[in-house]
């Protein structure tokens, strides 16, 4: 018996020492990882953050925008993964070009794959003016959606009339609305844009869980750093 105990102790200590060391090694490689992507060049005027927009509890405006499949979509045209009318929508302003949005691309796909079966599909809207950001043109959106096989609609805010009504100022930026179109959560998808492995709080997922159990999401509004939405110069 004592022998078993001693062997266990020994193994525990041994594995602890390994964990301690591999952990450090991981962090080292992480900081050394080189990311060669270059931000695309364009002269851009940012929208002011003074846009009024909607607050949590307000009614979210509906829209009719063109999807990458060339069809027009409003919220009433969107179904969840089971083909049912959704219980809510994860409306997410995102784009092809913003480095932060790119870091979230796979996470937005994963979010949809997890939430759409529960009745909460992602509705992606590209708010940048393509004349300011050629990489965000409709044809580039179509390419990106095809390359990554987006499982959600990817709509162009043509004319840029929708994002100001929401008060969106950055990409990525999410608005979780319920099936009465009431805004229940606004802001960041999770708490670590730079490092998906370092995420400790999945705000949108938590907000969906809260609604599912009849609660109000808390927190209901989380700010995060992102790219300014590029508005057409006037």
């Amino acid at each position: 018996m004592k022998r078993i105990v001693s062997i266990c102790l020994f193994l525990t200590a041994l594995s602890l020492s390994f964990v301690a060391c591999t952990d450090q090694a991981d962090q080292k490689t992480a900081t050394k990882m080189e990311n060669k992507e270059k931000a695309p060049a364009a002269r851009a005027k940012l929208v002011s953050n003074k846009v009024a927009g909607i607050q949590v509890g307000d009614q979210a405006p509906n829209f009719k925008l063109k999807n990458v499949d060339d069809k027009m979509y409003g919220l009433e045209d969107i179904k969840d993964a089971n083909g049912n009318a959704p219980k809510g929508f994860i409306i997410t302003f995102t784009c092809n070009t913003c480095p932060v949005a790119k870091m979230y691309e796979d996470r937005i796909i994963a979010l949809h794959d997890k939430m759409s079966p529960l009745g909460y599909p992602v509705v992606a809207i590209q708010p940048n003016d393509p004349s300011m950001k050629p990489g965000d043109s409709f044809s580039e959106m179509q390419k990106r959606a095809a390359d990554k096989n987006y499982p959600f609609v990817y709509l162009l805010d043509d004319g840029q009339e929708i994002f100001p009504q929401y008060g969106a100022s950055r990409t990525p930026e999410s608005y979780l609305v319920d099936n009465t179109f009431k805004l229940r959560y606004h802001g960041a998808i999770d708490d670590n844009s730079g490092d998906p492995d370092g995420v400790t709080i999945n705000y949108v997922e938590n907000a969906v869980s809260a609604i599912q159990s009849g609660q109000d999401p808390d927190p209901a509004d989380i700010k995060a750093v992102g790219c300014g939405i590029k508005a057409k110069r006037t």
């Binding site: 022998r3 060391c21 950055r170 844009s193 700010k223 992102g226 790219c227």
Partner: protein
Amino acid sequence: MSRFRILFSISIACLLTLFACSSSVEKEASTEGIAAENTTKPSLAFPVYESFSEIAPIFKEQSDTTYVINFWATWCKPCVKELPYFEALHDQFSGEKLKVILVSLDFKKDIEPKLIPFVEEHKLRSNVIALTDHKYNEWIDQVDPEWGGAIPVTVVYNSKKRQFVGESFANQDQLFELVKELL
């Protein structure tokens, strides 16, 4: 006999743990040594802060100096475009009570591969600091409640006046005019 075994295996385990950790510490020290040897280019010419609380005081100085604090990142194209305006401001007002601080929000993993080479390549003369505090929601409102999180943004203030600019400057004159109003 069995007591001896327990003691023996515990002590071996302890030794191994110690050995494993001290060797990794040594490795770290030696890589740091290498980094230091390679620093004909300064490896860290600017401070990196992991928590906003460490830099919070620079937004509340009560001196006769005017502070121009710009939030930017190497990944943010409009930010990079307006950096020369701040550099020009720094140069033009170098004899006066004006301090230009460029707060980089580059991600922690990008400090070494991106930010350091960028600062060196552009020979930035203004004060550069890096802030890697990704708990954005906990500090964005402390800079300004009006700030939604998009960059660039700029705070210009002194003990008498304060101005928050939630967008990029169209040109250098726009920045200079704003600062002169506060001086």
